[in-house]
């Protein structure tokens, strides 16, 4: 590469430009090659592979023996016996989902969303929440795989509970810690510290923390004169308990990203606003929030992607129990593939989860871009 460049320089003729660009191409692709090879082979190609494997019946023990079964894996995920459509099935979830039509309509009116894009999203929302979710087995029938819906529902619940909480707490703590001084630095370090623990240390601590007899939480409740709750074995409390443990574990990561975002906001804006008589809330609303929009997007997208992939916490602490109350999608995929040995079905479910996650991220990116 060096010699090519030097020859090009020595010639100083007409061909210098073309030699220079040849050298740039060789060097550019050369520097990129190691990353690209692994990126395509081990990050992108597996997605393709998952799509293909989703159409096969594939046993973990005899990998070479595979049978093409078309969409059977997907039918097994989404369908059941004696299916019928009723307006009442999952009525509250579906009505909540249909409320998405309001922001879509508003964005179209204010032209933040194009006609085509807006109508397509509206049709999609109606198709999913208005129609598709109305199908369910009647009293004689059953889902082919009720565990699939159970675990997906729990995953969505975890995403809905954990995302606002962990992003919100991250923002609040970052704002509180966004001031100079040695002691604030120490506080930042302390709040970030749990993030360095591995998931099995997290569960080690929290499984016993939350144990009504052994743990500190139970003792604290007793000292208040309350009956200690058996958090991880209660179908109602198990998921919130996992959310709290996850908040403690990961909020430090979001604090760091928000702190980075806060550092980038021009300080003179605050001074100008103060002179103009803006109060604390006004400065937060009109300077901090817009100034952090990109950081918030990055944090939220990363948080949603991480939350959808929740696995370790529940798998080690509750194994998905009690009674499936904390069973999540990745656990279902893992057990279908590696306990029940059905890799084809596990792949089809990975593809479904992948599509849902990409959809969520794309919507978030889109929302912020149209706001700018």
């Amino acid at each position: 590469m060096a010699s090519l460049y030097n020859v090009g320089k020595a010639l100083r003729g007409k061909s210098l430009a073309s030699r220079e660009s040849l050298s740039s191409n060789v060097a550019g692709w050369g520097f990129l090659a190691p990353f690209l090879v692994i990126y395509f082979a081990l990050l992108l190609y597996p997605i393709l592979q998952a799509v293909v494997m989703g159409f096969y019946d594939l046993d973990l023990l005899v990998i070479s023996d595979r049978t093409w079964i078309g969409f059977d894996n997907y039918v097994r995920m989404f369908w059941g016996t004696d299916m019928a459509w009723t307006a009442q099935n999952m009525a509250d979830w579906r009505l909540a989902g249909l409320l998405l039509l309001v922001p879509i309509g508003l964005s179209m009116r204010s032209r933040r969303l194009g006609i085509v894009e807006g109508s397509l999203s509206a049709v999609l929302v109606i198709a999913i929440f208005g129609l598709a979710m109305g199908f369910a087995p009647t009293s004689e029938g059953r889902w082919f795989d009720s565990q699939f819906w159970l675990s997906f529902g729990n995953t969505v619940l975890f995403v809905l509970l954990s995302t606002p909480l962990i992003v919100g707490f991250g923002l609040l703590l970052a704002m509180a810690l966004h001031r100079p001084g040695k002691w604030t630095g120490v506080l930042r370090t302390l709040f970030f510290a749990p993030f360095v623990l591995s998931v099995s240390v997290l569960t080690l601590i929290w499984a016993i923390m939350l144990n009504p007899q052994l743990g500190l939480v139970g003792t604290f409740f007793e000292s208040l004169g309350l009956e200690p709750i058996s958090w991880l074995t209660s179908p109602f409390w198990a998921m919130p308990a996992v959310v709290v443990a996850t908040l403690w574990w990961t909020v430090g990561f979001n604090i760091v990203l928000f702190l980075a975002g806060l550092q980038d906001i021009d300080k003179s804006l605050y001074e100008a606003a103060e002179i103009d008589g803006a109060g604390r809330w006004g400065r937060f609303r009109f300077i901090t929030i817009p100034g952090l929009s990109r950081t918030t997007l990055l944090v939220t997208v990363l948080q949603v992607i991480a939350s959808f992939q929740i696995f370790g916490q529940v798998y080690i602490m509750t194994r998905g129990g009690p009674n499936g109350a904390t069973r999540v999608s990745i656990q279902h995929i893992y057990e279908s593939g590696f306990r029940d040995l059905e890799l084809g079905y596990a792949s089809a479910m990975s593809v479904f989860l992948f599509v849902v996650m990409v959809f969520f991220s794309a919507v978030q990116f889109r929302m912020v871009r149209s706001r700018d």
Binding site: M1, A2, P34, S198, S200, V301, S347
Partner: protein
């Protein structure tokens, strides 16, 4: 804070300073509560198993002993698991840094054909859920008969799109005069990259390095399916395997001691580099 101290000695505390002191005290209290679970783990690991049978709710060690910590090194496979984690995490971090820096240099500095097409494609990788795609990855490594090897634990983790993004952003902001001067002096591209760009990217490399180190050390699902032989466990999966049977209450101290061993390498690395963490990222996301 240090200003505040000086002022305080020379004049009366003004309301604003008082507010600041109250605020910092409240935040310190919150941080102390935040630390309780961690302190508790250390405390239990320093208590004797016998004493823990009657009392587990103390945040200072009961019946202080080093037995549990020594026991981790003597018996069982915890030492081997720690070694596995160190090897896998070390090579993954070095590999990630090298690949991301090289790709970042290409995107930031070399005007090659196709750059405008490949870069968005790499950024799209930010949305790929690495965890969720473990089934096809498992099959690929099974066909290559590479499971239960270090390669299987390292290779799928060293192409990190977020890393390329951070390095590209950072290297774009380095003034190009220095590079041009070196090129005129006859330095090759590799020479420029290795001797000029890499050293100048130290803040971003440090931040990225810490993150890769933490994430790899804590990787759970992939080692769980790929390294299934006990001697190939990492400390993260190994520790999880010990939590399976919850008759563990009798061995609580020893279990917590293993948790301490699994955490200390990360806590040390974090304490050494934590300043660079915020700085490196702030630079990375600062010029989007």
């Amino acid at each position: 804070m240090s200003n505040l101290m000086i002022h305080r000695s020379s004049q009366r505390i003004r309301p604003k300073q008082l507010k600041s002191i109250i605020f910092l005290s409240l935040m310190s209290l919150a941080a102390a509560i935040w630390m309780i679970p961690l302190i508790w783990m250390f405390s239990l690991s320093l208590s004797s198993n016998e004493a823990l049978k009657s009392d587990t709710t103390s945040i200072v060690p009961v019946d202080f002993t080093l037995e549990n910590l020594v026991g981790v090194l003597e018996g069982g496979q915890t030492g081997q698991w720690l070694l596995n984690s160190v090897v896998v995490t070390g090579f993954t971090t070095l590999g990630t840094l090298l690949l991301a820096a090289m790709a970042g240099y290409a995107f930031a500095r070399i005007p090659f054909a196709g750059r405008k097409i490949v870069y968005p494609l790499v950024l799209a990788g930010l949305m790929v859920p690495r965890e969720a795609m473990f089934v096809p990855l498992f099959l690929m490594f099974a066909e290559a008969e590479l499971h239960n090897t270090y390669e299987a634990l390292i290779l799928p983790r060293i192409a990190l799109p977020l890393g390329v993004f951070i390095m590209t952003q950072f290297m774009s902001a380095i003034p190009s005069e220095i590079e041009e001067a070196a090129r005129v002096d006859g330095a090759s591209r590799w020479g420029v990259f290795w001797r000029i760009m890499l050293p100048m990217s130290a803040p971003a490399l440090t931040a990225l390095g810490i993150f890769t180190y933490i994430l790899t050390w804590n990787d759970f699902l992939w080692p769980l399916v790929s390294a299934t032989q006990r001697e190939m466990f990492t400390i993260t999966t190994g520790l999880a395997s010990l939590q399976g049977n919850f008759a563990q209450a009798t061995e609580l101290g020893s279990l917590m001691a293993r948790g301490v061993f699994a955490s200390v390498p990360l806590i040390v690395i974090f304490l050494i580099f934590q300043k660079h963490l915020v700085r490196g990222i702030s630079l990375g996301s600062g010029n989007k």
